[in-house]
Amino acid sequence: MELLDPTSEISPVRRARKAPPDRIAGLTVGLLDISKPRGNVFLDRIEQRLGEKGVAVKRYRKPTFTRPAPNDLAQKIASEVDLVIEGLAD
């Protein structure tokens, strides 16, 4: 379907990605395990590296990689951390 833009068109059609932070020191990083095999191995290593830099980490796990994260999990992550690293594939 094709729609006509109802706005004044002063912003681009494709929404810009959120700018990444300049640095992660002082931020809280969420590590999301989507329940793919060995995702935990990858994320354990990331957690270790971040810990060495003094970055606070919180771990999350989706019930299954086959479905989007449940709303309560997505909302919990959004309210608790500044950015998220997700292990997407095995």
């Binding site: 729609l3 109802p6 004044s8």
Partner: protein
């Protein structure tokens, strides 16, 4: 159909669409008794020496016994030839259309083809049938598909797997309720509701001060759910809020409650089916609901005015979704608000008012105009604050059972207004800051040595009649606390085609 939409000079359209430079073009459909009647004539012509391009709108095996019937079920050729009736027979010479006959007219067909024996034995005349290309709704689709309909607005592709309603939400276009997707076809139909050019700029819409064109109004009117015949009202309302005295920027940006309220007067209200009677200020009428919403969506999407953005309202009001109604002129003995405000009777207008929510006035006992006016005055005194004056305008919406009391006593709107002006002279000692143990109130300096102060500024009280026939329930709609020259002044603006 205009050449703008056809996109090609009409006299060469037939040749361009059919590839025939010299000969005949015939357009027909099986579902037409006259086309059926002329089948032998078409067979005779097709067997002759001249080129005959036969197009069928509904069945390429019709007319029967004619080789090479061209399939025009997509109606592209019918559209490009501006066929309104079938059968239509066109003669081309040197790539130009020189003549066409509509329906079956034996003498005309013979003259056009030069075949003097054509249609022997058939009746002399039979009217044709409507072309499928001009059936309701189809013509708009064909104009979009094959015509030269241009839009200034950029196109936004929605992925086939994406829900278009959700896509509009995610782009921030919605007021919170679902929107009608503004496809090119719907916007094209919406633009047919006005005589204005799509590219006409109505002004610069706050807060971003972006140009708002008739086309952008149409896109937002589609999303709001408007019917095309509402377009002149929506355009007039947008023009009205753009006028300097209304101060759309301030109305949007204020921390107070207000929003543009649209009141329609004149014959247009009835012709588009607006509700001025039972539940006039409530839900359930498409025109009331969607005209008000379209204005709001224009401010949101073209002006860029959004809550938590430039819209700083502390609480807002439900009227920020939509607030639009018509005055009940038909059943009223009072003159319409538009006439009071300087327009001739019979002229359709919009009045935009920066107002808040509806506050009911219950009076089931008053049977004299004096008693009822006192009730109204008491209720009007509550606007903004019982101890504030001159800050906010107000609309008094008088219901039919209350108007009846004034009618019986011969009180015009002007007489009622005069009475209210007298009753709304607030005692200075009651309203001065600190009086009654309430810090809020009129500053002593503003009162000076006056003993009273008028509740409303001059021209700050609007009176309209609306509502169902049963119920002694009128209403106050409070205006913005910064009404008049310092803030917003109500604007009445004519509605044009």
């Amino acid at each position: 159909m205009s050449e703008r939409i056809l996109g090609v000079n009409a006299s060469i359209a037939a040749s361009a669409a059919t590839g025939v430079t010299d000969g005949f073009v015939l357009v027909a459909k099986r579902d037409c008794q006259t086309c059926d009647l002329v089948q032998p004539v078409v067979r005779e012509l097709a067997a002759g020496p001249r080129t005959v391009a036969v197009y069928s709108q509904d069945d390429p095996t019709f007319p029967e016994g004619v080789a090479g019937v061209r399939d025009d079920r997509a109606l592209e050729v019918s559209f490009r030839l501006a066929i309104e009736t079938v059968p239509t027979l066109i003669r081309l010479e040197g790539g130009r259309e020189v003549e066409r006959v509509v329906g079956w007219q034996r003498d005309e067909w013979r003259a056009l083809t030069g075949v003097n024996s054509l249609g022997e034995g058939l009746p002399a005349w039979r009217p044709g049938c409507g072309s499928k290309s001009v059936e309701p709704g189809i013509v708009d689709e064909l104009e979009i598909k094959y015509g030269d309909v241009a839009f200034q607005s950029r196109r936004i592709e929605i992925d086939p797997h994406e829900d278009e309603i959700e896509a509009m939400y995610s782009r921030g276009w919605s007021d919170g309720l679902p929107l009608v997707p503004p496809t090119r076809l719907r916007v094209h139909r919406m633009l047919k509701g006005t005589a204005r050019k799509p590219s006409d700029v109505l002004g610069l819409l706050p807060p971003d001060l972006q140009p708002i064109t008739v086309e952008k109004v149409a896109v937002n009117a589609v999303m709001a759910g408007c019917a095309p015949e509402y377009m002149p009202v929506v355009i007039a309302a947008v023009e009205a809020v753009l006028l300097e005295p209304f101060n759309m920027h301030g109305v949007l940006a204020t921390t107070m409650f207000c929003t543009p309220i649209v009141i329609v007067n004149g014959p247009v209200a009835r012709s588009i089916g607006m509700n001025a009677r039972g539940n006039a200020l409530g839900q359930g009428n498409r025109a009331n609901a969607t005209i008000g919403r379209a204005v709001q969506l224009c401010v949101r999407n073209v002006g860029g005015g959004r809550p938590q953005g430039v819209d700083r309202s502390t609480l807002g009001t439900p009227g920020k979704y939509t607030f639009c109604f018509a005055e009940d002129e038909e059943h009223s003995f009072w003159e319409p608000m538009s006439v009071e405000r300087g327009f001739a009777a019979g002229v359709s207008t919009v009045t935009v008012f920066a107002g808040d929510a509806v506050h009911g006035i219950v009076d089931q006992q008053s049977r004299t105009p004096e008693s009822l006016a006192r009730t109204f005055a008491l209720s009007l005194r509550s606007v903004n604050h019982w101890k504030l004056a001159q800050g906010a305008d107000a609309i008094l919406v008088v219901c039919p059972e209350h108007e009846r009391t004034f009618r019986a006593a011969g009180w015009t709107k002007a007489r009622l207004r005069q009475e209210l002006d007298g009753l709304l002279q607030l005692p200075a000692e009651e309203v001065v800051r600190g009086a009654g143990g309430i810090a809020e109130g009129v500053p002593a300096a503003a009162l000076g040595d006056r003993k009273t102060i008028p509740k409303f500024r001059k021209d700050g009280l609007l009176i309209v009649r609306a509502g169902g026939e049963a119920g002694m329930f009128s209403a106050v709609i409070a205006g913005w606390g910064a009404s008049g020259a310092i803030g917003s002044t109500p604007v009445t603006h004519p509605i044009k085609d």
